[in-house]
C-alpha cells in the first residue's frame, strides 16, 4: 500500500458514508456533488431464475441529474429509505490516484404510505440487501465517485422505487 494509503482509505470510507447520509436524506445534489463528471451508476442483480446478470437501471452523471430533477414530477411511494452501510474493503492504487471499495448495505423502508398508512406508517421493513462496488478518483485529499455499482440480492422488488439506491 502507498505510504498515504491509510489516509486515502479513510477518505474513501468517509465519502461512502457521506453518500449514504445524502441518499437517506434525499439530498440528491449533495450526493451528485460527491461524484465526478464521468460518474457511472448502475443497479444490478443476478437472477438464478433466468440465469442472467441483469442491469435494472444505469446511467451516466447527466442521466442521474435528469433522473433526480424529474423526481418531484413523479408519483412515488413516500416512505423514506434508510441505508445501513458497512465498508468492508478499500483498495488504494499504488499511485494513490484512485481506489476501489466494497461495502455491504441493508436498506430499510420506514413506512409512511405502506399498504394502508393508518396501519403501516411508522414501521420499518426490509427493502433491499446488497453491496456497493465503488470506484473513486483521489485528488487534493478528497475521494470522488467515478463509478458505483449497486449489486442487489433481491429479485422480488414489489413496488420498486424511483430513487437512487
Amino acid at each position: 500500500m502507498h505510504k498515504n494509503g491509510a489516509d486515502a482509505a479513510s477518505v474513501v470510507r468517509d465519502t461512502i458514508y457521506r453518500a449514504t447520509m445524502a441518499l437517506d436524506d434525499q439530498k440528491w445534489e449533495d450526493w451528485l456533488g460527491l461524484c465526478e463528471p464521468e460518474f457511472h451508476y448502475a443497479i444490478t442483480a443476478f437472477s438464478p431464475e433466468i440465469n442472467k446478470d441483469m442491469i435494472y437501471l444505469q446511467g451516466g452523471r447527466k442521466d442521474m441529474e435528469t433522473l433526480v430533477r424529474l423526481l418531484p414530477k413523479h408519483n412515488t411511494d413516500h416512505s423514506p429509505l434508510r441505508r445501513h452501510t458497512s465498508v468492508y474493503t478499500v483498495d488504494v492504487d499504488d499511485d494513490a490516484k484512485s481506489a476501489t471499495a466494497v461495502s455491504s448495505f441493508v436498506i430499510y423502508q420506514n413506512m409512511l404510505d405502506g399498504v394502508n398508512s393508518h396501519i403501516d406508517s411508522g414501521e420499518s421493513r426490509l427493502f433491499l440487501v446488497g453491496k456497493y462496488h465503488d470506484t473513486f478518483k483521489l485528488e487534493n485529499g478528497k475521494a470522488k465517485f467515478v463509478k458505483r455499482e449497486v449489486r442487489i440480492d433481491n429479485r422480488r422488488l414489489d413496488k420498486g422505487s424511483h430513487w437512487p439506491i
Partner: protein
C-alpha cells in the same frame, strides 16, 4: 353532485350493465377459490420462456393455482412440463427455480430428476427409471413403470414462451385460444429466437384482475409524467383497442415520438423484425397475461393469484437472441428506463393497484368499480375491461356487477364487438 350519503354511494351508478363491476369480484375469498379452480386450472398459462432452459437437461420450476410444476428440456430438445410432485409420498421434487440435471444430485444420478427424499428418479420424459429397493419393498405389487410423473399439456409458442395447461382436455387448443390476438405480433416475435434479459417479481396486496385492468386501460396515463405531459397527441389518442374472442384484447400501434420524452432516445434502430420504427403493440390475454412490444423490447407480465387480495406478478424483458452486447445493452436501457423496478412508470402502476387493493380488502363494503368510458374504442376507452369481464362472467357463471347472480349474456348491441 355533492358528496353522497350511503344510499346514494351504493346505488346503481346509472351506467349500462357491463359498465361497472361489484368490488366483491376483487375481494371475495369464495370467488377467488372459484377462479383458481374454474379458470386458472383450465387455461393456457405462459410459465416461462424457452431461453430460460436453453440446454438439454435444463429445468425451470413454477406453479399454477398452487400446483407446483417443473419444466424440462430433454436430450431430444423437447420442452415438457410435469407436476413437480413425487408420486411416492408427495414430496416437492425440485426445489430450485432453475438449474440443470446434467450433474448428479446428492440423492441421485446425472441426467435424472431425483426426489431427494427417497431417491426415486425420473428421466426427462417423466418416466420413473429408479425406485430405491423396489423389489424388496413392493415385490411385484408396484413397479417403476407404474410410477411416472404427472405430465401436463405443454407447448412452446408465440415468441418461444412455454405454455402449460393443467387440464388434460382443455376447452380449446393454444392456437385457437390465443392465435388471433397474437397475429399482430407474430412476424415480429416469431421471426427469430428471442431471449429473456430481465426478470423480477412483485408481490402486491391486491387482486390479480386489478393488475390486468391496469394493463387493459391507458386512461391511467395521467399517473405518469411523460405520458401526461409529452405523450398525448392526436396519433396517440387515435390508438385503438380491439377485442378478440376468449376475452383477449389488443391495443393497436402508433408511432412513439421519443424525442418528446426527456431522457429518452429513438428505438427505431433496434426495432423487432418487421416492426416499423418506434411502433408499439400490446396483447392482453385473459385471464392475466400481458405482452407489450414497444419497438426494441418485449415485456411480458404473468400473474399468479395468491389470494383475493394478493398477487405475484412476474416481469420479463426480452430481446433478440442474436443481439450483440451493445445492442442488448441498449434494449435493456430502453426496457428498464420505463418498465424496470427502478424505472419511471412501473413503480407508479404498482402503487396504483396497491391502493386499489387497500380499499378492496376481504370484508370491506362492496362498491361499484366503473368500466364505462366509451371513446370509439380508442386509447382511453375502457372496452378492454368490459370485454374481459364478459369472459370472466362466462367462466365463473357470475354476473360481474352482481356476482351472486348467474351470468347472462348481454344484448348484442350492448356487448363488446369482437374483431373478425
Amino acid at each position: 353532485m355533492p358528496a353522497r350519503n350511503h344510499t346514494q354511494w351504493k346505488a346503481n351508478p346509472g351506467l349500462e350493465p357491463g359498465e361497472w363491476v361489484d368490488s366483491r369480484v376483487y375481494s371475495d375469498q369464495t370467488i377467488f377459490e372459484n377462479e383458481v379452480d374454474q379458470i386458472f386450472k383450465r387455461v393456457w398459462v405462459p410459465l416461462c420462456h424457452e431461453s430460460e432452459l436453453p440446454k438439454p437437461y435444463d429445468f425451470r420450476t413454477a406453479s399454477i393455482g398452487g400446483e407446483p410444476i417443473i419444466i424440462t428440456r430433454g436430450p431430444d430438445n423437447e420442452v415438457r412440463a410435469f407436476l413437480n410432485v413425487c408420486p411416492h409420498r408427495g414430496m416437492l421434487i425440485e426445489r430450485r427455480p432453475s438449474g440443470s440435471f446434467l450433474e448428479g444430485q446428492p440423492s441421485g444420478n446425472p441426467k435424472r430428476i431425483t426426489c431427494m427424499f427417497h431417491a426415486w428418479q425420473f428421466d426427462m420424459k417423466g418416466n420413473c427409471v429408479y425406485v430405491a429397493r423396489e423389489k424388496e419393498g413392493y415385490q411385484d405389487r408396484l413397479c417403476k413403470e407404474d410410477a411416472g410423473l404427472r405430465r401436463l399439456r405443454c407447448e412452446v409458442k408465440f415468441g418461444g414462451f412455454v405454455w402449460v395447461n393443467l387440464d388434460d382436455n382443455p376447452k380449446i387448443g393454444l392456437e385457437e385460444w390465443a392465435g388471433e390476438p397474437f397475429q399482430c405480433l407474430r412476424e415480429n416475435i416469431d421471426a427469430e429466437p428471442l431471449e429473456v434479459f430481465h426478470y423480477h417479481k412483485a408481490i402486491i396486496d391486491t387482486n390479480y384482475k386489478l393488475w390486468h385492468d391496469t394493463n387493459s386501460e391507458f386512461y391511467h396515463d395521467f399517473m405518469h409524467y411523460h405520458n401526461r405531459v409529452t405523450g398525448f397527441n392526436d396519433a396517440y389518442f387515435a390508438r385503438k383497442n380491439f377485442a378478440f374472442k376468449n376475452g383477449h384484447v389488443v391495443v393497436g400501434t402508433f408511432e412513439v415520438n421519443y424525442e418528446n420524452y426527456e431522457g429518452f432516445e429513438s428505438r427505431g434502430e433496434l426495432s423487432f423484425p418487421h416492426l416499423p420504427p418506434n411502433q408499439w403493440y400490446m396483447v392482453d390475454l385473459f385471464p392475466g397475461f400481458n405482452f407489450n412490444l414497444r419497438g426494441s423490447a418485449l415485456r411480458c407480465d404473468i400473474v399468479t393469484p395468491l389470494g383475493p387480495d394478493k398477487v405475484m406478478i412476474e416481469f420479463r424483458g426480452l430481446g433478440l437472441k442474436r443481439d450483440t452486447p451493445e445492442e442488448r445493452q441498449t434494449r435493456i436501457n430502453h426496457h428498464n428506463s420505463i418498465w424496470g423496478p427502478f424505472g419511471r412508470n412501473l413503480h407508479e402502476d404498482l402503487i396504483g393497484v396497491a391502493g386499489q387493493g387497500t380499499t378492496m380488502r376481504p370484508g370491506t363494503e362492496p362498491r361499484n368499480i366503473l368500466h364505462g368510458r366509451h371513446e370509439n374504442q380508442t386509447i382511453h376507452d375502457e372496452i378492454g375491461m368490459r370485454h374481459y369481464y364478459d369472459e370472466w362472467g362466462r367462466w365463473m357463471n357470475r354476473l360481474p356487477n352482481n356476482p351472486d347472480q348467474p351470468w347472462q349474456e348481454r344484448n348484442k348491441e350492448d356487448a363488446v364487438a369482437v374483431a373478425e
